[in-house]
């Protein structure tokens, strides 16, 4: 390797340390360190990956909900559409697609697609898969995200999807390799639910060879894959190494060549390792501090804004480390519908005098607020940031009481609206921006802690907008509105995980969804 690619690391070094904070916010840690793609791809070889956790529910794509399930399932299965490395919609198993009217879509299937058992993909399989997705009997968490009414075959290679109501987000959902997965009808119907969790028969670039529970998952490159000559790799071994220090050590000793890690403070450690390329994932994790505006001190907008103005976001971001955090809205910066707040935004600039004045206007000199947050070790850096925030808030007379509980009990508390003043959760990339907002603000949901008809009107308008450019604008406006009203604070947005790989791995790029390691284009130097 003689060519020196221009990496984010160089960019930062050039930027100089004083500008670092601004730079981070500006370049948003896009971080997809230009992958070494020089040279002609070579087929063959075994890539070993350090795996942080095993699938929990298994390989049934339409049921796979956990990250640990999705990252493996995404190697086996594909949808009618796909996402490129920037998160844009691209053809998948459908070579072309068109919208006929507001509730009708047509998809023409690609030729020469086969399942891993060798059978040919037909319109029957597509109809079966999408009907299965909508079937309440399989208890898919995704069913309610799709508005599919009927799926029919127009001819031997074209299917028509009719929706019950217009759904501008349909393409985004069909591009998800898990919920939008196309399964073989014959194969799926001849297996029990539990068998579907242990085996697979997708159309994707890799097929399951063996799952040794607690040790490793072995995949083999699918020779009959439609996008020839991909995949280049013969074998992919996911070796389970739950401990992050051990996992990074295994990259150093070359027992694995690719891994992801959650604690972004490890980036600096990885950087000093020679022969390793590192990258922060995309900034898809907005840290959400949702406020209970129905009762208690936060029902007063002035108190909420005082809270917001008391925070020094730039300092918080600095503590999180190099390039792995930035300003953010409720929709994360690197969602196709998200954007990054400007540094000039008064809501994102610390102003303690104004915060005190607002509190005074609200008739309070001191306020005590309870914040429920996850205690799991994965949230270590965030908890440090919260402690720092607590100190900043105390300067204006706000006492923040942290109530740390296991993540597993944070989720039901969010869903049931079961908390006093505030609760913290972090986002992952959602298929459609409406999901971020529905989680917190859906009208009539027990999770919703606001009463604002204007907000609900905006949400409904954005959800049903058919023109994508207008839709993007509407979601930007919504995010700004929520920030201005201080319904939900985003102290910072961050990458979900970092990735590192050996210089022997070529053609690899971190995925825009931050959910899977996209191995289709990867190859190993001989």
């Amino acid at each position: 390797m003689t060519n020196h690619t221009f990496t984010r690391r160089n960019a930062l070094a050039l930027g100089g340390s004083t500008l670092a904070g601004l730079m981070l916010a500006a370049c948003g840690g896009t971080a997809t360190t230009a992958s070494r793609t020089s040279g002609k791809p070579v087929s063959g070889g075994t890539l070993t990956i350090g795996l942080d956790g095993e699938p929990t529910v298994g390989f049934d794509p339409q049921v796979a909900q956990a990250y640990f399930d999705q990252q493996i399932v995404a190697q086996f299965y594909e949808g009618l559409l796909s996402l490129d490395s920037k998160g844009q919609i691209k053809p998948g198993l459908a070579k072309s697609y068109q919208q006929v009217d507001s509730t009708t879509y047509r998809f023409t299937l690609r030729d020469g697609v086969t399942f891993h058992d060798g059978t040919k993909l037909t319109t029957d399989d597509v109809i079966f898969s999408l009907e299965r997705l909508m079937d309440p009997a399989i208890k898919s968490p995704y069913t309610q995200q799709y508005k599919i009414k009927t799926v029919t075959a127009v001819d031997a290679s074209t299917v028509e999807i009719k929706l019950s109501t217009p759904q501008p987000s349909l393409y985004n959902f069909l591009a998800r390799p898990w919920s939008g997965a196309i399964m073989s009808k014959k194969w799926t119907t001849s297996r029990t639910g539990n068998e579907l969790k242990q085996t697979e028969n997708g159309t994707g670039p890799f097929a399951l060879k063996k799952w040794s529970k607690g040790i490793s998952i072995t995949l083999s490159g699918y020779k009959g894959y439609w996008e020839k000559p991909k995949p280049y790799l013969d074998t992919v071994i996911y070796r389970l190494i739950p401990d992050e220090t051990s996992r990074v050590a295994s990259l150093r000793s070359n027992s694995v060549q690719l891994l992801s890690f959650r604690d972004l403070r490890m980036v600096s450690d990885v950087k000093t390792t020679s022969g390793v390329t590192e990258a922060n994932g995309p900034l898809v994790s907005s840290v959400w501090l949702n406020m209970n505006t129905l009762s208690g001190p936060l029902a007063d907008k002035r108190v909420r804004q005082a809270f917001n103005l008391a925070i020094d976001r730039k300092t918080l971001i600095k503590t999180l480390g190099s390039g792995s955090a930035s300003f953010g809205y409720v929709i994360p910066p690197q969602d196709p519908y998200g954007t990054t707040p400007t540094t000039a935004d008064p809501m994102y600039t610390q102003n303690q005098a104004k915060a005190k004045a607002l509190l005074k206007a609200a008739g309070r000199s001191t306020v005590s607020i309870e914040l429920t947050a996850p205690s799991d070790s994965a949230y270590g850096p965030d908890i440090s940031a919260l402690e720092l925030m607590k100190a900043q808030l105390s300067k204006v007379g706000i006492t923040l009481n942290l109530k740390l509980v296991p993540f597993a009990s944070v989720v039901p508390k969010v869903l049931g609206g079961d908390y006093t003043d505030m609760i913290m959760l972090t986002s992952v990339l959602n298929a459609d921006p409406s999901q971020y907002l529905d989680l917190w603000f859906a009208k009539g949901s027990p999770a919703t802690k606001v009463k604002d008809q204007h907000l609900w009107d905006l949400m409904a308008a954005a959800k049903s907008e058919q023109d994508n450019a207008k839709r993007v604008t509407l979601y930007h406006q919504l995010a700004q509105y929520i920030a201005d009203e201080a319904y939900l604070l985003v102290p910072y947005a961050k990458a979900v995980r970092g990735e590192a790989w050996s210089d022997k791995v070529h053609g690899y790029q971190p995925d825009a969804t931050a959910t899977r390691l996209n191995l289709k284009n990867a190859w190993l130097a001989p």
Partner: protein, 320 residues
């Protein structure tokens, strides 16, 4: 002897039964809703209710317990709430790894702890004794996971060829298996050996002052014969007690070491199932862990009569 054996067996069974009830209660006390985890953040309450019902988690806890224990006594530990895999099968593949690691660590511990203890007792008060003592204290003070992590970091840079994370079952490749487990066994064997060393030293010193030792010495037994034939056998009873207890603790205490060295043992199964609220797996795995602890203690109890003939003839309790 038969009476001794049967009393021990009945007691052990009672302990396991009590344990099962405690484990069940604990698993259900852990906050969090498996249905919410299975169905996800954006799921509807209806879907969650449906999943809860299907898992039987809407039944009263006591009725869930009776149904579970009913199946458990027939050897059926149920299946995972999440992926539907048989709990029995998972435990059956994981338990041997933890047991092997514990035994391996015990071997390491015995290899250095016992000789060091005897040697130290034979040089009581001398510099050699003090060196061994400080070494033992160091071994007790540094937690195994620290030793483990340091070993991982050192080995991965200094000897990258060493198979750090390439676990294979013993039956598949015994040599590689023993190689992979060597470092974790040492990490666990250091504090275990230190405990043995301390007990051994105290016990030998205790025995050395006894009348029969003086008699044996008066009869002209050499120092080596005195130590090996007379002192050691008598000193062994408390050491076996301590060793047995420690070994039991080790089977469950390998959790962190399993994480550090990425070993597919029972500990990592328990950690995973707790974070995932997989009740049936938690219950099955902890029950297996408890049962093996009880079994190890039972075996220890049965070893006493072999070491000390007085227990064989009277059935006297070791502590009474």
């Amino acid at each position: 002897m038969l009476r001794y054996l049967s009393i021990r067996l009945v007691r052990s069974l009672a302990v396991v039964l009590c344990l099962s009830a405690i484990v069940f209660a604990l698993a259900h006390l852990v906050p969090g809703d498996p249905a919410a985890l299975i169905a996800g953040e954006n799921s509807t309450p209806q879907l969650r209710a449906q999943i809860t019902h299907q898992l039987g988690l809407d039944q009263p806890v006591w009725s869930q317990y009776l149904s579970w224990i009913g199946h458990a006594v027939r050897g059926d530990l149920g299946s995972s709430l999440l992926d539907g895999q048989s709990v029995g099968a998972q435990v059956a593949t994981r338990l041997p790894v933890s047991l092997e690691l514990a035994v391996y660590a015990a071997v390491v511990a015995v290899l250095w702890g016992i000789p060091a203890g005897i040697w130290s007792a034979m040089h009581q008060g001398h510099a050699k004794d003090r060196v061994v003592n400080s070494a033992a204290f160091m071994g007790l003070a540094v937690p195994p996971f620290v030793v483990g992590t340091v070993m991982v970091l050192l080995v991965s840079t200094l000897a990258p060829a060493w198979p750090l994370f390439s676990f294979v079952p013993f039956s598949q490749d015994p040599l590689l298996n023993l190689q992979v487990l060597l470092l974790p066994a040492i990490a666990l064997g250091i504090p275990f050996g230190a405990t043995l060393c301390r007990y051994m030293r105290a016990a030998v010193l205790d025995v050395e002052g006894q009348d029969f030792m003086r008699t044996a010495a008066a009869k002209g037994a050499g120092r080596r014969r005195l130590m090996l034939r007379h002192a050691l056998r008598n000193a062994l009873v408390p050491v076996v007690t301590a060793g047995g207890l420690q070994l039991g603790v080790l089977v469950g205490g390998t959790v962190i070491i399993e994480q550090v060295f990425a070993l597919p043992g029972l500990g990592s199964l328990i950690v995973n199932s707790i974070t995932q609220h997989d009740f049936t797996v938690i219950q099955g795995a902890i029950l297996a862990l408890g049962a093996s602890y009880v079994l190890i203690n039972l075996v220890t109890d049965l070893v006493y009569p072999l070491i000390d003939p007085r227990i064989r003839t009277t059935g006297a309790r070791r502590d009474g």
